[in-house]
């Protein structure tokens, strides 16, 4: 067995062992291992891509959110402003109305007072007139009696009138 003389037995066995190895490993080792690596590669690629997409989406969402917040703030301010205006208006309206009513009431009261006064005056005048007539009647009926009686009668009458 020389160092550089190939030995047929070894060539034979090497060929057999190598072909067996190649066939078995091809099916049961290289294919699953490489398939696994490839599958993982595509999965990672997809994951990266979807992550990028998600980031983009998030950024746009953020922008949208900011816009919404801005809008809401503006709306709030507007609402507050409006509410203030409305409340001011209501207050001023109420004030105006109150004033009007007050004036009306005062006016009415004044009128009534005037009317009552007038009525009272008229009534008084009437009564005074009636009384004067009555007194005169009584005086006339008792004319013949003395002066004193006159005086008494008049005083009595006045007294009565007063009481009325």
């Amino acid at each position: 067995m020389n160092l550089v003389t190939p030995d047929f037995g070894l060539i034979f066995w090497t060929s057999i062992v190598f072909i067996i190895l190649l066939l078995i490993l091809k099916k049961f080792a290289w294919k699953p291992i490489i398939d696994n690596v490839d599958a993982r590669n595509t999965k990672i690629k997809n994951a990266l891509m979807s992550a990028e997409e998600a980031e983009k989406k998030m950024i746009s969402l953020h922008a949208k959110n900011d816009e919404i917040i801005k809008k809401t703030l503006l709306e709030r301010d507007n609402l507050i402003k409006e509410a203030k205006e409305i409340s001011n208006k209501i207050i001023s309206d109420a004030k105006n109305e109150g004033n009007k009513k007050k004036e009306q009431i005062i006016k009415n009261a004044n009128e009534k007072i005037k009317n009552d006064e007038a009525a009272l005056k008229a009534d008084f005048n009437n009564q005074v007139g009636m009384l004067s007539i009555e007194i005169s009647k009584k005086i006339l009926s008792k004319e013949l009696t003395d002066e004193n009686t006159h005086q008494d009668l008049i005083a009595d009458m006045i007294k009565n009138m007063k009481m009325q």
Partner: protein, 355 residues
Amino acid sequence: MKHLTNFIILCFFLITSNLSAESSKSSEKSFVDIIMHHIGDSHELHFFNYTDKNNVNHSFSIPLPIILFNNNKFDIFMSSEFNHNDDGSEVVNINNKKFSKFHETIYQLNYGEKKLLFNENHEVINASKPLDLSITKNVFSMFISLLLLLLIFVSSGFKAKKENITIPNGFLSFTEPLVVFVKDNIAIPNIGVKNHKKFLPYLLTVFFFIFINNLLGLIPSGANLTGNIAVTLTLSFFTLFITNISGNKNYWKHIFMPSVPLVLYPIMVPIEIIGVITKPFALMIRLFANITAGHIIILSLISLIFIFKSIFIAPISVGFVLFMNILELLVALLQAYIFTLLSALFIGQAVAEHH
């Protein structure tokens, strides 16, 4: 520090050089024989020899089956029949045939002969060589590597199939990066993304076959399988075969109709045809020479102790052997890488679409 080490080494050499003067030329010849025997193939798994109390030399070795094929008949027996004899003096009688082993070659004695006879050139004159398909030390080691490779990679294959897309663990976390390395750094750059899938199984198998067998060869008393020319011949033949089977139009055109003036064809075409053979031939020699050289260096360093017949040389020898062994670990991977890389390169040239 470096100077100190150099100085110590020099001192050892000076001490031992006196001793070495005594050692004769003939003993050096025997060391060459021992080294050649160690890196060669053998019909038994030999571990060590020992001498018992009665001063009888015993060999501690495991016998391996010998399979001989001659005249359409198999003769199978264990190598222990030869009684560790390798000089042709032991004759074994099997199936009425006489066999003898000389320098790890098995001879079938011609009919009627009783002993191997040699001429003055140490050539056997009275025997024929049957076809030897024995499970030698190298074949045995190759079977172990076969089992190891199957165990490692089929289990990782099953794991890859089962775990599907998850993070690799166990064996797979060791094998997957290597597989991906061969795919991404050897197959794809040399063959191209389009064609590499077809050749990847071959490249992966050849890479791990060489790598594992290089490593097994480094184990003391292991076989020098990848440093055997028959093995590297077979492997490079596979590369030659695959390259030429898958060679496309451009490849053959480059060989038989190179783009040179017609006058140069008588020179160019033979050169190209020789080139087809020399590429895998270089592969064969490269792997064989690298691994064998590593083994020879380690064995020579160990032999120095016995050549100088001095225990003082042992620390240096052992130190250098340790260094060489570590270097050989690198070479084991490197040679597997180079063989695979060049195979991929040749295949890539054969399937390339255009230059």
